[in-house]
Symmetry: C2
Subunit: 199 residues, 2 copies
């Protein structure tokens, strides 16, 4: 009785560690890999190693970066009085593509989710509070997703920050309810920033 040759069994195991990829898909991808151009496979392997080795989270804002602190945190031409809070590094990219916001960012790396057992200590909230103690920040824009968890997280942050006299705003409902920031078009994002309201 023949099993898959070891090299392909190993590759299937690796593909299966990726999210949303089960047995069948992993097998299909592994066999496809063997037929790929050798250069492409080598590059794929190098890119995996490089991404893991060269990318870090900024120790100030939590965004993904090659240098620490990141380019945005070290850019003194940016408005130091505003911090826009997002769930994921991808959301920073979406905001930057809009090319209309010039303040700083803070990446939570998640949202509060009682169902998944994620509390305030599981996301980057402590580091946000710490940044606010410097007194340069006048406004925090909470740009978590328009999902129930995103809204709850926004309310939690607002309650935490407002007593310190810092203005807390939330993106306007330019975002359609239930959608992710990542998929919003640029005009929707611009409207959402313009119409932000105090919490």
């Amino acid at each position: 009785m023949q099993q898959y040759p070891q090299p392909i069994a190993n590759l299937i195991d690796s593909y299966k560690k990726l999210p949303g990829i089960g047995d069948k898909t992993a097998t299909r991808l592994a066999f496809y890999t063997i037929d790929m151009d050798e250069d492409d496979v080598t590059k794929f392997a190098q890119n995996l190693i490089a991404a893991k080795r060269d990318l870090h989270y900024c120790s100030i804002c939590g965004n993904i970066t090659e240098q620490d602190p990141c380019e945005i945190c070290t850019d003194k031409t940016r408005d130091q009085s505003t911090i826009l809070v997002v769930e994921q590094p991808k959301d920073v990219m979406s905001m930057e593509r809009m090319n209309d916001y010039h303040g700083l960012y803070h990446v939570l790396h998640g949202v509060l989710s009682p169902i998944e057992g994620l509390g305030p200590e599981d996301i980057n909230i402590t580091s946000l509070i710490k940044r606010l103690q410097k007194d340069t920040v006048k406004e925090v824009i909470v740009a978590t997703n328009a999902t129930p968890e995103g809204e709850a997280t926004a309310r939690y942050i607002a309650q935490l920050i407002k007593p310190a006299g810092i203005k807390v705003t939330r993106l306007a409902h330019g975002l359609s309810v239930g959608s992710d920031i990542e998929y919003a078009d640029e005009m929707t994002l611009i409207k959402a920033v313009e119409g932000r309201q105090e919490m």
Copy 2:
């Protein structure tokens, strides 16, 4: 305006080369990779390289193998008078798992498909004919998938081989029409081999 850092942009490009993976999924996989265990990422990269480097197609039967000729072609205890023809290396694994067939294999690496412009010269048919000239083969079992292309390929092979006086059989309709061999359960495969009929 900030773009994705180069290492993650490169990794997204590599993921996008895989079949069925578009922009959004590639981005999600790339960000996921950065959060993965470093050992897992290193192993993933090594497995990619090893699979591409150590696996080859058997020069006799076209099956995937670490050694050439493959273990099945060099196993003299196997029935040398029967060749079972399949579309893909995965199908050999499916047949071997059934543990009921002890002859040889031939992997076509595809099927005839006028729509995709695949003719007889694009799949391993010439090498099959060459193997039959040795006169040791008494029967060819055509185990292409029960799809229109698989059936057409089976008929083409039968027409080519029968004049040489070799028995050509096709798997019985234990296989449900329109399905792939890869997904069949072992009993269905056993029934299909038992009920094979001359073409």
